[in-house]
Amino acid sequence: MEPVTIPPTPITRLATTVLPLTDSTPSFTIQAINKSFKHQYANIYFVRLRHLKPCVEKEAIKRWKNVPGSPKLIPRVLDVIKGQICLIIGTVYMDMPLKPNVLEDVGRDHTIPAPPPREKIHSQEDRVMLEDESGRIRLIGKILEDTPLVTGVIVGVLGAETSSGDFEAIDLCFPGMAPQDDDGMDIDDFPGTSTDSDSGARDGYIAFVSGLDVGSSPRSEAQTQVLVEYLSGACGGLDDQRFASQISRLVVLGNSLAPLGPTGGAVEEGKEKEDRKSRRHGDDNTSFSPHPIRNLSAHLHDLSQSVAIHVLPGESDPSGSILPQQALPRAMFGHASSFASFSCETNPTYIRLAAGTHGSDGQIHSSRTGRIRTILATSGQPLNDMSKYVPTVPTTGLKLAEATLRWRHIAPTAPDTLWCHPFFTIDPFIIAETPDIYAIGCQPRFATRLVTEGKYRSRVILVPSFAETGILVLVCLKSLDVRIVNILAHSP
């Protein structure tokens, strides 16, 4: 084993600056004025339809202008004329008998324990309806089986009404990817990822990790520690340390704290797969900690001395359960909160980054010309909820994530099966500008794809739980390339 070389001067990290959010990438923080629970959820659907209807119309006209029969747009869904091919735009509503129904919940036999929540709610008896302000109409057709649809998607349907009153769909049209800011240079203009370690030609990377699950098992503690050491540049040889210095930010995508107590049958099975003696952290005395948050804040404090961190709350984190989850309070993280580079974000959140550092005069100094990258990060609840609607086999998580970009909506199932805040005048989940990086955490496995449509492109990343898989995802800011680091702690 050859000795590790010591760098003559300390290696410095590449820096990126966070830019303020714009109107097209709004903040998800719920202000006191919006914090009203007095109105119904129906407003969200109306706002969504109003916003996305023109986009669908544009797309539809572009797509179907050459269809014989010159279909017209019928403004109200109920006004369709039998037998005539036409175009209607509305919101999809999936009528699923297996969907959790509050009436069933109230009416069930309370003497026996409640059945566990289903993993999938789709079945053969599902009916797809199209709804708008006037009413709803049932959609039928082969194309519906091939296209994954969930409640809340705004779609344009080309077809004709049948004699039975249902609308036979021939083709579907979605809003398509939202326009992107052209200030971000196209990836074709960039050279490939440079692998030489000269400080002048380093590319900035953003690291994504999810599901740290601090407090769940001792094995994940060691993995987290190696992760911290890798990111702060202690671990590895000189080349690896130089590479780690290119990671300018870390985004933690939820589930940083393990859920305490019995979490249902699914979790137990997963743990049984691992060949480990202790399953609950209470059983193992080596790293038993009554305050997992202290462990987490110690790790984050260690990390925040090296790298800028953004923490998003997840499903198992102590933040609200309705979307958008508000930022965790900084005070929870102890000494880590004393760093200005440590920030707590809402879930979901937009982060706009520019390469370079913020000078003292307020201008951005960067070695490369002003390049702004938009990241849309969520902790996975919308995607997990959507995946209940569709069978996993043909429609993977990645496909669904790509579909959300084309639907221009982060969480179409939002008021229906995914709990969300009752917004009145806006639907903040509408994607007004396609982000460069769309990162979704707490997924069962890692997947990534560069989704393109015309000249718009977005890098979709599904980040798995770190405690289970040890995956850390690195995305190059310049070229949107992805690398993964897989950290394992073997126990003999």
Partner: protein, 458 residues
């Protein structure tokens, strides 16, 4: 070749203390670069391999794996479900795999790598490590030293930080949320930092919070003094107001005091004492008394030596004339330390409030009577001194309050104290026994049962 300090440290930790030493804890303990620490661990390990006090090593390997994570996932899926994830699935990405293994499994783990980027010792331990969680133990003590040392220390040790990190970090010594509004100075400093817009309040420099604190503190102090001057001069807690001994002089005194103590309070109690001391000891003592009563620990610790002595002597000396004499005596005594806690202060007040059994006590009572009169006199001066032109509201109020209040404003001020005196005089004298304790009636109680079977004591 391990240097002496390293050797000593490692021997002490591994052989004597039987602790695990990771390369990070070694580097923090000795202040050397992490890479150097890795080399030191390697040389220590190789020197002692095979000997009695051999240390067991845990290695960390990094490189490109033979079978990537994605492939392994796909294989696992293929076994369970037949799906075509490879076609439209995720793209293949370069992967770096890092594994933490014990030395026994080093070779087998190395085989899983197609290309090894680095292998180095992670830790040394007296026994082979079976639980990876044990490696987290040294990190805890390491973090403690990190907290104390600051960022510059760890940068020298090999931590990678950003170019402007020293300006970014707002190390806060106190983690209490800063309540004072952000002033322009701190916001200008924040422009250079990379903090987000919505967190301007938090990234305030601790210096601003410290500055605002004393200002904030003295303000309520002044306010409190102003407020409490008028309504409650002598408190029933036993503090005596010598200035009220002479009714004539006392009239002017309360008015003089608020005016005097308010400007005097600002420079602080000590300075206030000096100028007013020759003028009127009673006055100054009273204001300092009030100050002590208003404020809590901070004030009392800051309060000079004079006030506590002034206060204790005031309680013992009922008369203004006597006070002068006693105060001189007490001044010569060694000053007692000021009470640091409110509880202690109250205790002293309570102790002082117990009247000594002497003529002094009676004089005290007389004094207290007079005080009340004068208390009622002063606020009512506005309403009583000009009964001809009372504001209609107060007129109505007085009438509304009923007959009980009517006799009060109407009679002379002299009658009210007389009435009070009459009320007070027939107070019974507490019988005190031989040993100084109060005499109490001791009754033998008998338990009786009444007709219905209920047991009672009588």
């Amino acid at each position: 070749m391990s240097s002496d300090s390293v050797l000593d440290f490692l021997t002490e930790e591994l052989v004597v203390g039987k602790n695990i030493v990771t390369y990070r804890s070694l580097s923090h303990a000795l202040g050397i670069h992490v890479n150097k620490a890795k080399n030191e661990l390697a040389s220590y390990h190789s020197e002692r391999a095979g000997s009695l006090d051999a240390a067991h090593a845990t290695y960390i390997i990094g490189g490109e794996p033979r079978t990537s994570y994605l492939d392994s996932v796909r294989d696992a899926d293929a076994m369970t479900v037949d799906e075509q994830e490879t076609d439209e699935g995720s793209e293949h990405v370069p992967e770096t795999k890092i594994t933490l293994v014990g030395e026994a499994d080093l070779e087998t783990s190395k085989e899983q790598y197609a290309r090894i980027d680095f292998v180095h010792i992670y830790s040394l331990s007296p026994a082979p490590i079976r639980e990876p969680a044990l490696l987290c133990e040294p990190a805890k003590s390491l973090r403690e030293t990190d907290k104390g040392a600051g960022t510059g220390f760890t940068v020298a040790l090999g931590r990678i930080t950003g170019p402007n990190w020293h300006t970014n970090i707002k190390e806060r010594t106190d983690l209490r949320p800063a309540r004072s509004p952000p002033d322009t100075k701190s916001s200008a400093a924040n422009a250079a930092s990379t903090s987000k817009n919505k967190l301007p309040g938090l990234s305030k420099a601790p210096s601003t919070t410290e500055e605002t604190k004393p200002v904030v503190k003295s303000e309520p102090k002044d306010v409190k003094l102003e407020v409490k001057e008028e309504p409650a001069k002598p408190k029933p807690s036993g503090k005596l107001d010598f200035s009220k001994a002479k009714p004539a002089a006392s009239d002017s005194k309360p008015k003089v005091e608020p005016a005097e103590s308010s400007p005097a309070s600002k420079p602080g109690p000590k300075s206030e004492l000096q100028p007013s001391k020759p003028k009127n000891k009673l006055v100054e003592r009273k204001s300092t008394l009030l100050k002590l009563s208003d404020s809590e620990d901070e004030e009392s610790t800051r309060a000079p030596v004079k006030p506590p002595t002034g206060r204790t002597e005031s309680n013992s000396a009922p008369r203004a004339t006597r006070v002068a004499a006693i105060s001189d005596d007490e001044d010569d005594e060694a000053p007692k330390p000021p009470p640091t806690t409110k509880a202690a202060y109250k205790k002293i007040k309570r102790k002082a409030a117990v009247p000594p059994d002497s003529d002094a006590e009676k004089e005290l009572r007389a004094m207290m009577d007079i005080d009340d009169d004068h208390v009622t006199k002063v606020p009512r001066a506005a309403s009583i001194s000009e009964p001809a032109t009372p504001p209609p509201a107060t007129d109505v109020e007085m009438e509304d309050r009923g007959p009980e209040t009517e006799p009060e404003p109407e009679p002379e001020p002299g009658r009210a104290p007389a009435a009070r005196k009459a009320q007070r005089k027939p107070k019974k004298v507490v019988p005190v026994g031989r040993n100084g304790l109060r005499k109490r009636r001791v009754v033998k109680s008998r338990t009786t049962m009444d007709g219905k079977g209920y047991v009672g004591a009588s």
